[in-house]
């Protein structure tokens, strides 16, 4: 097109003028507050004196050495990792099955599976709390009537319950990501493999899986980062004792009122997630450079 982007001075000035309102908003209400939060994590706090604006490493030292925080961060990572694994193992095949459906069914089930993404997380988690509900919960009744378990399992206030509910909340992201990758796959390649005598398992392993792997991995990054910072589901299913990073920071801010310590936990979560996301994105893009071209 004739309107190729140009870089002459007048255009640059127009561009900056158009983005100025949003830029000012973001600097004023995002960059400055985040910088203040980082500063806050270095401040001192006492039960009676409140927040003291000094520069000390007390909170960071506490987060780094107290085994309570180590345990909490491991639990957060474990829950996020298991959730990611479950969504990948179940979401990828489902996306593949969806993609092979005929037009109308495909869009119907896509709506059914992706729609929950836009329904309140509180409502979805409440559903799991109802399904788990004590020893007499529907999930336990179903599992026992199927003969899968002998005695009721406890799902409420356990990591198992949090992982199941979280996997449900995050599943649409994985299906969406794999489905997007499948749109770039040429179905004729599968037919070619079939005509050359490959069995269904060989086709999945040698043809389909390598092609959707970038989708699975980028879905995994999304699910992991959202699970590691999830709040509603761990708070409702996990209860007050099974703390993860987000619920712990919430507690420090609104119950204990130790803001500097809460800020340190939040900043650590942010830094860890940014490093993980940026690092794995770089790895994936290098490994699958040809797919992204």
């Amino acid at each position: 097109m004739s309107a190729a982007p140009t870089t002459d001075g007048r255009d640059a000035r127009t561009a900056w003028l158009l983005t100025a309102p949003a830029l000012m908003l973001f600097v004023g209400v995002l960059v400055i507050p985040l910088a203040m939060t980082v500063m806050l994590s270095f401040h001192d706090w006492g039960q009676y004196k409140g927040i003291e604006p000094v520069f000390i490493l007390k909170n960071w030292h506490e987060v780094a050495t107290d085994p309570y925080f180590a345990e909490m961060f491991w639990r957060t990572a474990r829950i996020a990792l298991l959730t990611t694994l479950i969504t990948a193992v179940l979401g990828a095949p489902e996306a593949y099955i969806l993609n092979r459906m005929s037009g109308r069914w495909k869009s119907f089930f896509l709506l059914v599976i992706l729609g929950p993404l836009l329904i309140s997380v509180v409502a979805r988690t409440l559903g799991w709390a109802l399904l788990f509900g004590g020893n007499n919960g529907l999930v336990n009744k179903l599992l026992m009537s199927l003969g899968l378990i002998g005695s009721p399992l406890s799902f409420m206030f356990t990591e198992t319950g949090v992982v199941i509910a979280l996997a449900h909340v995050m599943m649409p992201f994985m299906v969406l990501s794999v489905w997007a990758a499948l749109q770039r796959v040429d179905p004729q390649i599968e037919n070619a493999a079939l005509s050359l005598g490959a069995g269904p398992l060989t086709i999945i392993r040698r043809i389909v899986l390598p092609q959707i792997m970038p989708g699975v991995l980028s879905g995994a990054i999304i699910v992991f980062s959202l699970s590691a910072s999830a709040f509603a589901t761990p708070a409702i299913i996990g209860g007050r004792r099974l703390k993860v990073a987000a619920t712990l920071a919430y507690d420090e801010f609104l119950n204990t009122l130790n803001w500097p310590l809460g800020a340190a936990v939040a900043v650590l979560l942010l830094v860890a997630l940014v490093l993980i996301v940026v690092g794995s994105n770089a790895l994936i893009e290098r490994r699958y450079a040809e797919v992204f071209r």
Binding site: T6, T7, S120
Partner: protein, 268 residues
Amino acid sequence: MRTNGPLALIFHTIFVVIMLAPILVVCLVAFTPEGYLSLPTTSFSLRWFRTIANYPEFVRAFWVSLGLGALSSLVAVLFAVPAALAIARYSFRGRDTLAALFLSPLMIPHVVLGIAFLRFFTAIGIGGSFAGLLVAHVVVVFPFALRLTLAAATGMDRSIEMAAVSLGAGDWTLFRRVTLPLILPGVISGWALAFIQSFDDLTMTVFLATPGTETLPVRMFLYIQDNIDPLVTSVSASVIAITMTALILLDRFYGLDRVLAGKNDPGR
């Protein structure tokens, strides 16, 4: 290899049932005639929906959520349209950095945003106010408004604009009569998606809401923390019904797959 075998269909059925089960169970329990949590077996009752009226804090929270969602997504769109046009059309130094900054709320955990806003608003003396809540929501929903507007602005045919200019249209006329109508579907969808994001947000809002400015998700969350009874299921069922209506409208108007594609990947 193009059709699904029986094993695949069984897997698919179980998958869909599990995806829908928690949402269905909430909606079913909401219609229980009993005074405790139970699945209605013989009769359905609206008593728990009527009970909502006796809890003014839920009703008020609903109006706060609705107003906050509508207003914050509107403000976000007003900021996003010029920014999207600039990013789509001009290649200038710092463009990629700017785009990354504008999309960054997608990457920052909402718990961190909640803390940062709480700290900032308390420091400048507007802690607990609706204005603070509004500004925070504008920032958080901005990426959604920007993305869909950007997609519309990038995809539009610019020869129509050139025709308008050659016929003597001024900058403002050009925008109002040509550019805006062309990108409007994207803008409205961006607004709708931003609205849903604002309407559903719990993690950030829970840090900022005070009893007067509690949103519906916050009120529901705080209620569930104390006890779970049929009341909160009927509130949830109402929220689900509202969201479904918005979804169906969005699907008719724009195509849900395109909207959802814009919701994907906070990691990039």
